[in-house]
């Protein structure tokens, strides 16, 4: 048991091969502290949903894999005896029941008394602010409302673990943005251990205590959102999470030499090298301060920031983002500065 009171989850050597031979998940080890919220992030078909379903008990791992909730080995337990709450991408609300009955279902199955059921349902309706929907048929609800009901239903019976499978994917962008904040607040206030699957890096950044980036059935990196963003362990992670510039240059005398100038290099080595940096790590500076010089080829006004495509810095275009309010002209020359710490050098 952790200080926060949630259930710790431990996976040992869990792989998953489907009967048709598809290897969805390579042997995976993973530990979640009680109350921790982890996001499984990766492209579609990477195995993130399979990993979630293995934890849920909807898929059993290949022989040899074990799953522990705290110290209890739950590998052989079917999902209905694991006491997990689950939220599905399609919500999976029961069309034959109204909102209230959907939320009460888990309590009913667990044999809660009618009084306790009514009390819990009331709490859930309040918490999700959907009291006025209690008697609605689920087919009459909007996407956002359905999502709230699905969440309420999943947590009503106080599960040990909450599992969310792309819960916001079916919603429009604005609602997604709002609900991701609500979900983050909700999960942290519940103190429940949660795993959240998404392919959307913005969602992953906003919700997770920790992100596990998954590619081809393997967890390629786990870390806080900040670690994942600023210190990607591989070029796959670097590219999947946010935009990344790649420039080819030469190392000489502690500097990286690029077509547009030179910048300090603190990571050692000599000869040809590929360096990576985030668009917002290249600062636009005055001519005097500039380490690199290039020409604006295109500009995109994004509201909160402006994105520039700059030529002349490296062999290709370099993407630069700035929150400055001024407008740039195509053909205008700009000077850039990149701190040595923002430069990455990845081998793969």
């Amino acid at each position: 048991m952790s200080a926060k009171g949630g259930t710790a989850i431990r996976l040992v050597g869990c792989a998953k091969t489907f009967t048709n031979g598809t290897r969805a998940l390579e042997r995976t080890a993973l530990e979640l502290k009680g109350g921790e919220i982890i996001v499984f992030l990766g492209p579609s078909g990477c195995g993130k949903t399979t990993l979630l379903r293995v934890i849920a008990g909807l898929e059993s791992p290949d022989p040899g894999g074990r799953i522990f909730f705290d110290d209890e080995d739950v590998t052989e337990l079917p999902i209905e005896r694991r006491n997990v709450g689950m939220v599905f991408q399609s919500y999976a609300l029961f069309p034959n029941m109204n909102v209230e009955e959907n939320i009460a279902y888990g309590l009913k199955v667990h044999g809660a008394t009618p009084q306790h059921r009514a009390k819990r349902v009331e709490e859930m309706l309040q918490m999700m602010q959907i009291g006025e929907l209690r008697l609605r048929r689920v087919t009459e609800l909007s996407g956002g409302q359905r999502q709230r009901v699905a969440l309420a239903r999943a947590i009503a019976a106080q599960p040990r673990v909450l599992l969310l499978d792309e819960p916001l994917t079916a919603l429009d962008a604005l609602l997604r943005e709002r609900l991701r904040i609500e979900i983050d607040v909700l999960l942290h206030s519940l103190g429940i251990t949660a795993a959240y699957v998404t392919h959307d890096q913005g969602e992953a950044m906003a919700i997770g205590d920790r992100i596990a980036v998954i590619n081809r059935g393997t967890i390629v990196q786990t870390g806080t959102p900040r670690e994942i963003y600023y210190h990607p362990a591989s070029s796959f992670v670097a590219d999947f999470v946010g935009t990344m510039n790649r420039v080819n240059g030469t190392l000489r005398d502690g500097s990286l030499e690029l077509p547009g100038g030179r910048i300090p290099w603190t990571q050692g080595g000599t000869g040809a090298v590929q360096a990576l940096f985030r668009p917002n790590d290249a600062r636009i500076v005055t001519e005097a301060e500039a380490q690199l010089r290039g020409v604006v080829e295109q500009q995109f006004f994004l509201g909160d920031r402006t994105r520039l495509h700059v030529s002349g810095i490296a062999d290709g275009l370099v993407v630069v983002e700035t929150s400055e309010h001024r407008e740039f002209r195509v053909g205008q020359s700009v000077g850039l500065r990149i701190e040595p710490g923002a430069l990455l050098n990845l081998r793969d």
């Binding site: 008990g57 059993s60 052989e76 079917p78």
Partner: protein
């Protein structure tokens, strides 16, 4: 976990399988066997094709069923497309009336034909009123034909309407905007879209006509259609092995017609998609 679930699923499907095997597959195998072990042995099947009586019954049943199928497709095709594509007062009532005979057994359909073309039938009354003499057709091939169309129209109309419902009106509008005449629209837009529905309902219509027994039984017609021949051989002649062989042949024809149309409709659907 999946294993115990498979076990439960097996329990759930077992009663249906048991009923199917005990009361259908085994008896059918027995029927096929009886057809082959009669006095003439396996040749009972050959006899069906070589004996002129049986063979002509087979041919006339097939010809009748094909004629019924084509006629029904035309009638139900026109009415079905019309009813699906137009909204007017009384439409629902028309549809209800056109699908009413769906649940009539063959005997009742036979009786309906007697009402129309029997000795005191409507057509006879009208023709004698017009001084053309009393026309009686119920007990002839025409009566049988009329009865088969009577029970086929409701089934086919429903299938056609379901298919016409999916017809994209934009296609017709596009064709018209390109200058197509109503006839061209029918030929180039509507018929191709209804193709699989026509094939499917046509096959059902054919198979039902091949096996229909009640109507011919009620009309007590002289026309030797296969089901009547089977019945006569079995009950009156006690010629059980021939009856069995004929039943098997009839069953194979109807099953093959349905299977072929399904394969064909499936293939065209795949090609279209």
């Amino acid at each position: 976990m999946r294993n115990t679930e498979n076990y439960k699923l097996l329990i759930m499907v077992t009663p249906a399988i048991a009923v199917g095997v005990a009361f259908f597959l085994l008896p059918l195998a027995r029927l096929a066997l009886v057809g082959a072990v009669g006095p003439s042995g396996l040749s009972a099947y050959v006899e069906v094709l070589t004996n002129p009586n049986y063979f002509s019954a087979l041919v006339s049943t097939i010809v009748l069923s094909v004629a019924v199928t084509v006629t029904t497709l035309v009638i139900a095709g026109i009415a079905g497309v019309f009813l699906e594509r137009n909204r007017f007062f009384g439409r629902e009532t028309l549809i209800s009336m056109l699908t009413l005979p769906l649940a009539f057994p063959g005997v009742v359909v036979g009786f309906m034909v007697i009402m129309l073309g029997g000795r005191t039938g409507l057509v006879g009354e009208l023709s004698s009123f017009l001084g053309l003499g009393r026309v009686v057709f119920a007990y002839s091939l025409i009566g049988l034909f009329t009865g088969y169309i009577y029970f086929s129209i409701p089934r086919v109309i429903l299938t056609i309407m379901a298919a016409a419902e999916k017809l994209d009106p934009a296609l017709e509008e596009a064709a018209r905007s390109l200058g197509a005449s109503p006839w061209h629209v029918v030929r180039d837009v509507i018929l191709p879209a209804l193709r699989s529905a026509l094939i499917a309902s046509g096959a059902i219509c054919f198979a039902t006509s091949m096996g229909a027994f009640g109507t011919a039984f009620t009309l007590a017609t002289d026309i030797k259609v296969l089901p009547i021949v089977i019945y006569t051989e079995f009950t009156l002649m006690a010629n059980i092995s021939t009856a069995a062989a004929l039943s098997i042949v009839l069953g194979i024809i109807t099953w093959a017609a349905l299977a072929a149309c399904r394969a064909f409709a499936g293939a065209t659907a795949a090609a279209a998609g």
